[in-house]
Each structure stands twice: as structure tokens, then as C-alpha cells.
Symmetry: C2
Subunit: 226 residues, 2 copies
């Protein structure tokens, strides 16, 4: 019944959240004269949430929020050296190598013989295209769909665009909130493979049980059911 | 023969470059103590070109380049008040109203009865989706394609994705460099409608003559030939 499989990219195909958490640690270490590490993390998260509707997801929004947060936390006292360091954090993240997760290539290779595979990811088009290119995984995918958000309406658009029925669509990803719940809501299948770190914004506090839902510990386990 | 018409968005469907030039004027006026207006414009353009491969197109890359350029021009002497003003410029640009150009709606309404219309634009997905929404023009388009660049390869991907032959594809836009030349190169049709202001990066210094090329002064003139 499943004909098309969409993979989330960040923290499903390759490591991502780790880079953001490392950047956050570096940032908060720059500001220890002004606030505690914990308070800094909280202020940054609040700033990101405030800017999210306007900026969207990705490294450039994150960098802009870091700069605004540094000015906010230091009450304008931040030095231009620190701002330059923040700009450099963002650039380094954009240039970072792509660390493909264990078992991903083998799994895609096998699945691509039987299913049409696509990438369905939030974030920035240029950045995600670059990461797909660097990953060496491009050839397994029919196309890459960068979505401005992962709400039910965005998945409905994607499925129409792919010209299939929701029941023929399977989404695989690390976020219950973004990759699983909205897909089940519109009649698709969704499989969850958690990553060890989840951004607070992606966390949900309920259990998912649904006949079109499955959970796995690693990507290679997909081959046992697909 | 033409079946699908792709419209560029910025400065073809709605005003865009004007907002960037206004922001640039505001920015250079903040820095008159350090450099002349003309030198500021030059330094900003150089900074944008240096950051383009990494950041791509759009308002967020522009904002990050403004910040970096302010630090560079002032040799680190820029105040956090100025950085905050720059962040605010970017936010205002993201929230700006969409000024649909004269004759666009009437033209789209007529063309949408005979052709499949799509939007083909560079820049930021969230920002372009928001502008299309604000413009009130969404219903005339089959879909919006945000491209990381407008090189021949990007158009080839778009045309494959639309499942048509290049000869059945017409691109309409204000940039000879991005909307016309690469499309003619891959065998498509391209019509040029200039906007009064063109970003230096989009300027070319040769004439276009090609049997699949036409030039118009305003969008409503399209109805005379399509």
C-alpha cells in the first residue's frame, strides 16, 4: 500500500541538533559575565520562539536570534568582537561537514529499489540542498521538498504535489511533533526513529498510538517491515 | 505550444528591489561618520557577494551582511544600538506589505484560464510563501517553486518536476540574467518585463536576441501575444 516514503533530513538522515546545541553552549559561555548558563539557554529559547513566526527555521534565523539575544542579555553592552564571533558560529554551522547516520545509506539503497523516496524537511532550501549534496545520498531521492513548516496543511500540499493518496504515503523522522502527529492526522503512515537530543520546540508530552504508526530504535530496523 | 508559464515574483509580480534600496540608504546614512555614502554602498555590495555562496538570497542573508558590514566599516566601533536598528530593518522588510504591480492580477486571471501558471522565485521559502499569501494572487497559481538559484540546472530540475518539455515552458521576469538567459539556454521561452531598478548583481552587459525571446514594457502587454 505504501508507495512513497518521505524522510525527514536533520537528525534522521544526518546529525544536526548536536551542532545547534554546541553553538548554544559556545554562545552562553561568551556571556557568563552577565547571566548564568541556564538563564542564557532560557533567554535564547524565548528569543527563538519570538522570532520563529517571522524568521522560520534554520541556521540564519538562529544566528540572527543569537545576535539579538546577546544585545538583550548584556543590555547593549555586548562588544562587536562578540557579535563577530556569533556571525562566525553561523558561518561555521553552514560549512560544517555532513555526518550521515549509521545504517542510513544501506537502508536507502534497499528501499529505493521498491519505493519512491523523497526528502521532506523544514529549514532553509540552499542549506538543505547543500547538505544533501555533501551527504552523497542525492541519488536515492526522487526529489527534495523543503517545507516552511510541518503542519497538516503542509503535508496535504506535499501529498497533492506527489500526486498520491495519503494512505500511500509514509513519513519517517525523529520528531513526533513534526514528522508523526500531523501525518497521522491527514491519513498517512508515520514511523518514528528518535535521535538522542531533541530541541525543546519539537518535544510533545503525550504518547502516540495509532494503527498507521510504528516506532524504531535505528534506521536499519525499517528493512524488517518495509 | 506553450503550456506552462512561470512567473518570477520579486519585481515581476510585486515590488521588491525598492525595499532593499531603501534599507541600503537607511543603513549607509547610519554610517556617514565613517565612510561616504558611495563607499558604503560599494562595501555592502562586496560583502553581499562574498556571503552569497554561503547565505543565498533573501532578507535574512541581507540582514546578516548588513551587520557584518557595519562592524567592518566602523572597524568594530559600531554600537549595539546600531546593530539593533539593523535587525529591525530586516524585520520590517519581512513584515512589509506586498505591493502588487499594476495589471498583474488582470493578466493572471486571463492567462490562468488557458495555461498552467506557477511562481518560480529565488530567495527564502517562508518569505516568498508569505508574500504570495499577502498578495492575494495564490489562487491563480498551480504551485510556487522556490529555487536556491536560477542557473540552467535549476530550470532543468523545475521543468522535469513540472513534467513538460522545455519548448512548452515560458518564463516571465524582470531579470535578463536570471529569468531569461538560462531559460533560453535550455530550450525554453523567456519574456522580459523590466523593473525600473535592478540590483547590480542581476545586471548583464549584452543584448539578448533569440527566436524564443520577447521583451515587453508592462505585464498587460502579455495578453496581446499569449
Amino acid at each position: 500500500m505504501i508507495r512513497t516514503i518521505a524522510f525527514d533530513a536533520d537528525d534522521t538522515l544526518w546529525v544536526n541538533e548536536t551542532y545547534f546545541r554546541d553553538a548554544e553552549d559556545y554562545f552562553c559561555n561568551l556571556l557568563t559575565d552577565y547571566v548564568s548558563f541556564k538563564e542564557c539557554q532560557k533567554r535564547l529559547f524565548d528569543m527563538e520562539m519570538r522570532n520563529l513566526p517571522l524568521y522560520g527555521y534554520g541556521i540564519k534565523p538562529f544566528t540572527l536570534s543569537l545576535i539579538e539575544c546577546a544585545i538583550d542579555i548584556t543590555d547593549g553592552d555586548v562588544s562587536s568582537e562578540t557579535i563577530t564571533k556569533i556571525i562566525d558560529i553561523g558561518k561555521e554551522m553552514l560549512m560544517a561537514p555532513v555526518d550521515v547516520m549509521k545504517g542510513v545509506e544501506k537502508t536507502l539503497k534497499t528501499l529505493s529499489k521498491k519505493y519512491r523516496l523523497v526528502v521532506a524537511t523544514k529549514g532553509d532550501l540552499l542549506d538543505q540542498e547543500r547538505k544533501l549534496e555533501k551527504s552523497g545520498l542525492s541519488s536515492y531521492f526522487h526529489h527534495i521538498e523543503v517545507m516552511s513548516d510541518k503542519k497538516p496543511v503542509n503535508y496535504t500540499n506535499l501529498i497533492q504535489h506527489l500526486d498520491i493518496e495519503p494512505a500511500a504515503f509514509l513519513m519517517i523522522g525523529n520528531s513526533l511533533k513534526s514528522d508523526v502527529v500531523p501525518v497521522l492526522e491527514i491519513g498517512g503512515h508515520a514511523y518514528h526513529i528518535p535521535f538522542h537530543t531533541t530541541w525543546a520546540h519539537e518535544q510533545i508530552d503525550f504518547e502516540v498510538t495509532h494503527k498507521q504508526f510504528k516506532a524504531f530504535e535505528s534506521v536499519t530496523q525499517l528493512l524488517e517491515v518495509l
